[in-house]
Symmetry: C2
Subunit: 446 residues, 2 copies
Amino acid sequence: MLKLISAFVFLIVASSNAFAFSQSSGLSVSEYTLDNGTRVVVIPDRRAPVVTHMIWYKVGSADDPVGKSGIAHFLEHLLFKGTKTVPQGVFSSAVSEIGGQENAFTSSDYTAYYQKVSPSALKLMMTYEADRMRNVILSDEVVYPERDVILEERSGRVDSSPGGILSEFTQAALFVHHPYGVPVIGWEHEIAKLEREDILAFYEKWYQPWNATVVVAGDVEPEDVLALAKETYGKVVASQPEVKRERIRDPQPVVAKELRYADERVTNPVWRRAFLAPSYNRAEGNEGEALDLLAAILGESVTSRIYKDVVLEKEMATSAGSFYQGTALDSGYFGLYATPRGDTTIDDLETAMEQVIDTLLEDGVSQEELDRARKTFLKSAIYSRDSQVTLARIFGTVLTVGGKVEDVTNWAEKLGNVTVEEVNAVAKKYLIRNQAVTSYLLPKKG
Amino acid sequence: MLKLISAFVFLIVASSNAFAFSQSSGLSVSEYTLDNGTRVVVIPDRRAPVVTHMIWYKVGSADDPVGKSGIAHFLEHLLFKGTKTVPQGVFSSAVSEIGGQENAFTSSDYTAYYQKVSPSALKLMMTYEADRMRNVILSDEVVYPERDVILEERSGRVDSSPGGILSEFTQAALFVHHPYGVPVIGWEHEIAKLEREDILAFYEKWYQPWNATVVVAGDVEPEDVLALAKETYGKVVASQPEVKRERIRDPQPVVAKELRYADERVTNPVWRRAFLAPSYNRAEGNEGEALDLLAAILGESVTSRIYKDVVLEKEMATSAGSFYQGTALDSGYFGLYATPRGDTTIDDLETAMEQVIDTLLEDGVSQEELDRARKTFLKSAIYSRDSQVTLARIFGTVLTVGGKVEDVTNWAEKLGNVTVEEVNAVAKKYLIRNQAVTSYLLPKKG
């Protein structure tokens, strides 16, 4: 019923599709704002008689109160527990009875819920979704058993995964004090102490019409969607005035950090390195697009530098690459990763990875390479654009991390304008080894 | 006028003197609580016609609001700026005119102010100190110029010191989210944004009679001190009710962390390793005392294991040792450090240091070694007990980090009871390499 987004996976999906989307000429996005502040975005997609209905709240785990991590995600669970007028299970049954799909997800910056159904069911979905914006029952009977469910979810997701454990501490090392350093699901000892009152206060603070963005993609008319939205979401009355998200800033990184975690369950070691880099929302000029293209050139496909060098030529790694996490309200980051092959040591692999980066920093990228990477980036985007859910998700994400509809629709054009000099500039500016966080997931002898 | 305490230095002073003090048989400490909640502790010390008067507030940098680091220390500066009835400079002049000394210091857990004067001036000191508990003038004219002074202080203390820079990030790595990971002086970008209102709110919240402990050591009669305290501090009326200090807990450490900082200004590399370990306040049973003795056995003197091995025998280091920071309201830590000598690499020195620890973990300590370390510990304590200020400071520290007067007076006895098994147990329990934070301060070629 719910899913925590891997920032890495999502970045790729998001970038690709935003690009793909903007290639679909003739597709026009409609935007409305209801009187109570709820935003409505409609993306026509008439390939099939299907509609994807999403609601996005501008609140995520980075808005959890200090010392009370896990509330945003906890609340996502609780939104499936029924309201005063719609008992638990009714909403989900309405979706599954017509062969629809539903899901929800929490990230650092947003929480979202969606259903993919036939257009005739859209009104019902909006009715139910508008209902649970303000009317969820948060009784002790609902909250405390669910807390145990979440603790088990955490145990299964993180504690049983050596990579998950290391990843949490890596994130905490990258973001010294900023809440991006706190796991989305929350720290175990803090989840265990969450009280009904904490959840309720969070719900009251953030689940309000002024904080909601409704995204509808599918075989629908924008005017019809607006009319339905007015009838449903438009009737929700805010119980509290608008609040702004405020997060602390971290000190400038100046120290190189290495994290090592050895675990008997590790069979394949993993080397990772992360550099703080601005998100699209925080970037100056073309820096976001340039970082996306830098990641493509370095390591997002089998023709990129890292893969060709350490996987194909040197045969030192079974997998290796790079990525840019640029979809964030606050700071993003740039990542490198590699898994050694055969007898290759993780230290030798690290040296090889560093050589790839050093070469790029010294010699820069060529125009031809940039153009090729841009094309590959586009091609992989086209393959993934088939998903209506992904399409809707891109808009929802961008709109909840500080962006506008045009940031999605103009994205490919801006990507097309990025120059060799701009790619080289962001590489030099952000791939600073002495400020990076490197993590080593290692096997441990029993 | 003010001084940030190095936790390391202070621990040694504190431990030694508490030990020394308790050896002074016949010394009896008097304790009182005034009606408004102010505690008064009197320690007779008749060696000279001198009295040390201190006030300790149970508030420190770990109580700075999240994102507003530096307030506790900022306020310490502002307490020297004058009150409604005592203009700036009057208090300090009163001290210096009679040849007295004064100082103030802020740590994570407390803020303290003191004067060392002739007993006849005690009443005046108490009058002035009681006055500035509630009456400091915090106008824009006072606050903002001082903010620049503090930014300069930070620049001189931290940014101009490679070791200072690395130390801040090491502390942040050791304490993942707990405010001990935030510098006492504050992060530069947060200090720069502190406003008068932030300081004022902090002053109103914490500078209250119920949060103050007055420590007087010297050639005085306890009853006389109590009478003076009633006349001065006793008249201060709280403007807000008592609040408790609440700090978040960190997740269990499971990942080894390494921090590297290279700087052109570094001439002597430094290797350090820190392990989280309970403070006296958080320790079970004798663990605090056992950790103190473990530090003594390992490396607090020229006869301890580390010094004998890596400095004297192997000649790999110019200095090396260990320490236990056990004076904290929340978690303490155990530290190792070494500076390579001549051509010794920092990696080789690390290996040598690890061998010393591994040997201790494998073979344990002997009864003879424990007894000898305990004696050395005591001896160095006796040398440092001459300072009346230090004596008073030990009581102030212990009383503001969760301890009682008896924790000081019984300390030597408890130290005497620590067994070989207890020392070996804390070593095994806390010196876990895979959970430690290791920092490398390195030279950098220009």
